[in-house]
């Protein structure tokens, strides 16, 4: 049969945003694929160059609207490194709690999108309902549900309210019960297993060479979590497990995220217990000079910020390394040889967020 190109996007239910996957098919089989991105390019790196350090946080929040705290935090961490500035101890613990709440909310959003991709509409409503619990907690902390503008250079915006700890424990206890139920529900679905197991394989060596990071890399059997290998904030004082699966397929990536949600819950509970009292924010210097970079474990992988400054109150250059930008480059490797319908399962399982790809 003659080979020809199909555009899966920019308007397609699979894309979860605005981008285009051009695929070359031979009958139903994918023989080549080219991702086309840039529809959502907002020039954030350029805009950052005329904003003061603190004001860039508004932009970094919007890098990924599903996981805003993790992005702002990566930026703040880099700028603090650039200014050689140590934040108060309590702020570090507050940040860890905020980060993990955001990670769960982001993973639940992913689960809500992944189910309908494969025709499982039930999980959409369930996981969005449970995501409300965590958005409520984030609202309690930061005052906003999304784009929360919570981490600041020098600490966090405000302390948690007194009733936060109780609500947090109650919500997490409820959520963990529900999560077991959903996991059972997903894994007893024959459709789900057929469409994820042995689909979209990428070997460990290849994943590392392509720069795949985060849950997608751990799904390929690499025991790499930046929270553990290059600890930041207070992750080295917390006890938790890295989720690693050996199967390298869509199902393994699903499994890693499910385990990660549980681990995040245990991190939050432990952080609530260990958090010391004290100030939550300190005043950072206005100006900075030199260059700095930090890596953090974002919900989707390794987030890297590289910030250079020339003794001004604004950054000279801000570079964002988006994990999904790199994973998308590897996506053709995962899908070549599979059928067109499997593409939906593969792209769903790597958790696309167009905001951070296009910057």
């Amino acid at each position: 049969m003659a080979e020809f190109w199909i555009n899966m996007g920019p308007q397609h239910p699979m894309t979860h945003g605005l981008w285009n996957m051009r695929i070359k098919v031979d009958g139903e089989t994918i023989v080549d694929a080219v991702p086309i991105i840039g529809y959502l390019h907002r020039g954030m790196e350029k805009i950052s160059e005329v904003r003061e350090f603190q004001k860039v946080i508004v932009l970094t929040d919007r890098l990924c609207y599903v996981s805003s705290i993790t992005w702002s935090h990566a930026y703040c961490l880099t700028v603090e490194e650039l200014m050689d500035f140590e934040i108060p101890e309590r702020a570090k613990w507050l940040r860890v709690i905020a980060l993990e709440l955001q990670r769960i909310a982001s993973h639940l959003m992913w689960l809500a999108a992944f189910g309908p991709d494969l025709g499982l509409l039930t999980i959409l409503l369930y996981s969005l309902r449970e995501r409300e619990l965590f958005l409520d907690l984030i609202e309690m902390m930061a005052g906003l549900r999304m784009n929360s503008n919570y981490t600041r250079v020098g600490g966090v915006r405000n302390d948690i309210p007194p009733e936060f700890e109780r609500s947090c424990q109650r919500n997490i206890a409820y959520f963990l019960k529900k999560l077991d139920e959903y996991e059972k529900m997903m894994e007893s679905s024959k459709t789900f297993l057929m469409r994820t197991q042995d689909i979209g394989r990428i070997s460990k060596a290849e994943a590392i060479n392509w720069g795949v990071t985060g849950p997608n890399l751990r799904g390929s059997g690499a025991d790499v979590d930046i929270r553990r290998t290059i600890p930041y904030e207070v992750y080295d004082q917390i006890d938790w497990h890295t989720a690693v699966e050996q199967d390298c397929d869509s199902y393994a990536r699903y499994k890693v995220r499910m385990i990660e949600m549980r681990e995040s819950c245990s991190i939050i509970l432990e952080a609530l217990k260990k958090m010391p009292p004290g100030p939550f924010r300190a005043k950072p210097p206005r100006r900075a000079e030199g260059e700095a970079f930090r890596v953090t474990e974002d919900s989707r992988g390794e987030a890297l910020f590289y910030v250079a400054a020339d003794n001004d109150d604004r950054p000279y250059r801000v570079k964002v390394r988006s994990p999904i930008f790199c994973t998308l480059a590897a996506a053709p490797t995962m899908m070549i040889g599979h059928k067109v319908a499997d593409l939906v399962s593969i792209m769903g399982s790597i958790d696309i967020c167009v905001g951070e790809i296009d910057k």
Partner: protein, 163 residues
């Protein structure tokens, strides 16, 4: 955490004359600066001998008198990181591509070309990635103007006329 002193000792022994600036940033993180012609040799050594298997990021910076390509590498075994700055003259913005060593370099280099106009030689597919193909400028260069006058007018400034 990796030992940055050890990494630097290996590099200094292997390339005694080619490293312009070397130093440690923080525990586990080393940095160095090289000339662009030595890039492939140094990177090959980093990947094959020192085990920096992950190319984290390629960022290009316009320092007005020169370009710099900043490479970040990670070794997963012990979490060691390395920052490598390669100097590129403004008049001839070309550097060798790293696509043969890391496939991850493909998209990063396309982005650096798109935004900063640095030509990566021997790149398999050096086209614009985020901006349209017929776009004529390289927007992250410092000579690309940006509207700054209309930003940050606080209410107090508006009332008092800028005082």
């Amino acid at each position: 955490m990796g030992n940055e002193e050890e990494t630097l000792r290996h590099l200094k022994a292997r390339f005694p004359k080619r490293l312009i600036e070397v130093g440690a940033v923080r525990p586990g993180v080393a940095r160095m600066k090289i000339e662009r012609r030595n890039l492939i040799e140094v990177c090959f050594y980093l990947k094959e001998e020192l085990g920096f298997e992950h190319l984290s990021c390629i960022s290009a910076v316009d320092w007005k008198d020169r370009f710099e390509c900043v490479y970040h590498f990670t070794r997963y075994k012990d979490g060691a990181m390395l920052q490598l700055n390669a100097v590129i003259p403004h008049s001839d913005p070309k550097i060798e591509s790293l696509c043969k060593l890391w496939k991850a370099a493909d998209f990063h280099e396309r982005e650096a070309y798109d935004m900063m106009g640095i030509i990566f030689e021997h790149h398999p597919n050096l086209r614009r990635i985020l901006l349209p193909d017929n776009y004529e400028y390289f927007p992250l260069r410092k000579d690309f103007p940006q509207e700054v006058d209309r930003q940050y007018i606080s209410r107090r400034k508006l009332k008092t006329g800028g005082a």
